[in-house]
Symmetry: C2
Subunit: 266 residues, 2 copies
């Protein structure tokens, strides 16, 4: 079973303040997934410009100050979820157009966190969808949190990916982003930046000058942290650039492609 | 706690073959809910023209004939869910526009049936949303079914309503439709049809000339069957016409309005 993460920066125009789809990318990526003919696949996608601006604006996951703040955060929860679900609908529409039987699985409908980490997550049904040959599509969302100080939290697609990959003992995990992998410097600023082919611990990244992209869920460093947790459990993953044509299709088919592999420390 | 069902025939143009929203009705109804100032409410809505044509076309819930049929039904599952979720998004958008913190709860993400009746349904999270003052919005959907002959089923909003009302011990259950209640004859055909003010058993309805409206989930007779199950458990409900202005607002405020009450048999 393959777990594929579609980064919010690839399927949306993340630099936009308003939710903006990258329709062209989404369509091409859906086609590459269909063309790869993978049999058992679960997809998780990020929120990009559909989630981060809202979550920021309402401070979902920040401490609740008073009743008025709670009222605002509740509306913010509602609005943020509505927005990310709209993106999810677009992703599923693109997949369905390529004859992929996508089934959106809505995190806020059944997942809870405590201090922003997943506690309740019934995985059985997702397994049954996979067994039947349907393609579950999860996404970064807002969820209820047991911590009474915050009550609501942003749940990143990356944390979902890590959780699902562990529970389902995924054979492969592919993180599709808009960069070739992890670099020693920000490749968008430094043309001489070098790609790091393998990472086995957070120490490998200490020299980095901060996250290469920023979002409410922690940017690249948050992603790698989740993937290192996976690697410790024996599930290795790869970060690849799915903005580049055919790369995802080739990776799904099992070919070696350029990227960064997150491996277990020996 | 009040459970409100918004009939698919009210919020969509059910006679249409293609999914068509009744935007005007939906906006007015959302406003009436907001104006009523009810504190704790859960909403379930039907699928109307967003669900029935697709579910029919692919025969979701019918016996699976062969592999080819299964492949088609899987795509049908995906397409039907996509469509009802689009309706759900519109309903939640209308509610959010009236400052109601709606949270869609997606049945296919966590509910399973066996022979088309709910078996798995974790209600805790819904309860927590209600306690926090958010408004869960559930809907008629397609779900996985344990019966290997069908594997997938249509789950009606009415069955969800019955299940949720029982588990949450709802104080009131309001079924909003496009007719005044249950009549002794089809009021759309017979101007002399008489409204039946109370129903306590299926026997009260034996004289009916078939369901007054038809849909894949059993029409009015299917609805009354679910409500009679509720009444037997001590939860009484009322069927009212929310196509008529102000009726829903008045009912939510606790006023007596025209309709049919489904009561426990004494």
């Amino acid at each position: 079973m393959i777990i594929l993460k579609l980064g919010g920066s690839v399927i949306t125009r993340k630099e936009e303040i308003r939710p903006t789809l990258d329709q062209e990318n989404l369509q091409r990526i859906s086609q590459e997934i269909a063309d790869s003919k993978v049999e058992k696949i679960l997809i998780v996608h990020g929120a990009g410009s559909y989630g981060h601006p809202h979550a920021h604006e309402y401070g979902i996951g920040n401490q609740i100050e008073n009743n008025q703040d709670l009222t605002q955060k509740k509306m913010g929860f509602s609005i943020t979820h509505q927005s990310v679900q709209m993106l999810n609908l677009e992703v599923c529409r693109a997949l369905i157009n390529e004859d992929i039987p996508a089934v959106p699985i809505s995190p806020s409908s059944f997942i809870k966190t405590d201090k922003k980490r997943i506690t309740d997550f019934k995985i059985d049904l997702i397994n049954e969808y996979l067994d039947l040959g349907l393609v579950p599509v999860l996404y970064g969302d807002v969820v209820l949190d047991s911590d009474l100080k915050i009550k609501m939290a942003v749940l990143s697609g990356d944390q979902i990916l890590q959780y699902v990959a562990t529970k389902l003992a995924a054979r492969r995990v592919i993180l599709g982003t808009d960069v070739d992998g992890i670099f020693d410097r920000n490749p968008k600023k430094h043309p001489q930046a070098q790609l790091i082919p393998t990472v086995t611990s957070q120490d490998d990244l200490n020299f980095l000058e901060g996250a290469q992209t920023t979002d409410v869920t922690g940017g690249m460093s948050g992603k790698v942290e989740e993937l290192l947790k996976l690697a410790q459990k024996g599930i290795e993953s790869e970060i690849i650039n799915i903005d580049k044509k055919e790369l995802l299709k080739r990776a799904l088919r099992g070919e070696d492609v350029v990227g960064t592999r997150i491996l277990r420390k020996l």
